[in-house]
Symmetry: C2
Subunit: 320 residues, 2 copies
Amino acid sequence: MAGELVAGVDLGGTKILTVLADRAGQVLARVKVSTHARRGQDYVIDTIVESVHETMRMSGAPAGKISAVGVGAPGPLDPDRGLVFFAPNLGWKNVPLGTIMSERLKLPVYLDNDANLAALGEHVYGAGRDADHMIYITVSTGVGGGLIMDGRVYHGAGGGAGEIGHVTVAPDGPVCNCGNAGCLEAVSSGTAIALRARALVDDGRGAGILAAAGGDAEQVSARSVSVAAVAGDAEAVVILRDAGRYLGIAVAGVINLLNPSAVVLGGGCIQSTAALWDAMLTEVHRRTLESSLAAVRVVRGSLGGDAGALGAVALALERT
Amino acid sequence: MAGELVAGVDLGGTKILTVLADRAGQVLARVKVSTHARRGQDYVIDTIVESVHETMRMSGAPAGKISAVGVGAPGPLDPDRGLVFFAPNLGWKNVPLGTIMSERLKLPVYLDNDANLAALGEHVYGAGRDADHMIYITVSTGVGGGLIMDGRVYHGAGGGAGEIGHVTVAPDGPVCNCGNAGCLEAVSSGTAIALRARALVDDGRGAGILAAAGGDAEQVSARSVSVAAVAGDAEAVVILRDAGRYLGIAVAGVINLLNPSAVVLGGGCIQSTAALWDAMLTEVHRRTLESSLAAVRVVRGSLGGDAGALGAVALALERT
């Protein structure tokens, strides 16, 4: 029977993850390749198209069996037109990715923002299952988010909803990449954690963090802070607790504002240590209204790096 | 023809406003009476029922012409069951207002939170017209809010969405009524403005504000601050600017998070002076992502104190 399968693609700045799944969301094949963004837009799109074909070959399914493709892409985009407005990690501006892929694959292609699709993935297949009102937050290099309302991705008026990374949590805090001061991303992202750790090391302190970076100040990263914290380093724990505290302020704020049934957190900084997570939870319990706190579960994502590709599968299934 | 009219009731702690309107939302009669909450629940419900009858008499419309009643009530409630969980201003706990009114009036009665209905009122008849994604914020004694998403009131998982007054904007700020520190309500409400002004006066400063309160320190209120600011008093202006700054931080946050097409602000503190409004706008322009800022208009409500009752009309019309 035709149209039994869909492909989901998570297009990132460094990797492209493609999965082939059946209508139940069961993954039949999985391909992860480097993006090589510097080789240009045509190369990247060729790679995506080839990845979809490759999953077909791996599964042994005949070409007619695939009915649609979902794609998660970075940056602001227009889901209806399948147009990526701007993706600095890829060096793209106004790329009609949906149209190009659809012509190449002779299939309907549905596009959405990568964080929105990670939210949808966790909602349909992961830790946010049964939560029709769900907030997804990813904390890694940056901080992103996606909103599920009444079981669907919420886009807002112009497709830009979910940018929790640029909600102010520290009015007089450090300047963010976006130009504002005290955005969540400027105090709780992996980049923010690394910057604080480097400043500490440059100041002659942070010996435990420096050791975790192999003694090389240039190699100090959020990962070194995390490793040092796990080993009990007090300075590393303070940095992660502060990041967690601000994350908790933001999480409490969205719970009070949106009264969701679940908040699901993903990304490298969430998985790595207890210090950040525990500080986040403490702040959430402190700052959330009782009735809204009782209605919500705050949990780690269960799909890891597959959330986006599985969300793309869910998008393709939702539309077909 | 039967069922041409609907009534909208805004039940407040001090006043009950009831309007009778036609299907176009045109107001045919309007009754405003004191709530007298201390006289008890039966008295208050009698008053509401009588208000609805009074608007019918005023309009000269026969009883059969009214098809439904919408009611906005304070406090957390269950719109589906028409149940007011808790309304401290009325002294109510678990009052099945919808059922009681429906039995008394022999009409369908639809209930929602007062801030949600003010949001719906401004969306359908006021400054948020044509904005299918709209945030409403009221700044008066407290700070409340309502969310319009895809043209309808968004309730979240448990009916509690919209509580922007309890979003943290000053992590180490003053303690709020809810017990947390630095909620928007604790720094930008009329109560917060009055508290700061009284502290100033108690400290022997704030001469302009004290004069605006007739020289009586006990009478210092948000209104005195506003009057003093309009007269050019520098201390009053600083207080209102600070309140406006935090309001702007919250408004920018919800714009970044929800990408609405309009933010509509109402309540006494919004109408009173330019100082708070201008400081709010400055902060919004500073902290909102460019693409989301371009998509939104931030405006004062146009319905004043009628927003809630007109929202109740819109609710009744939406359901019938």
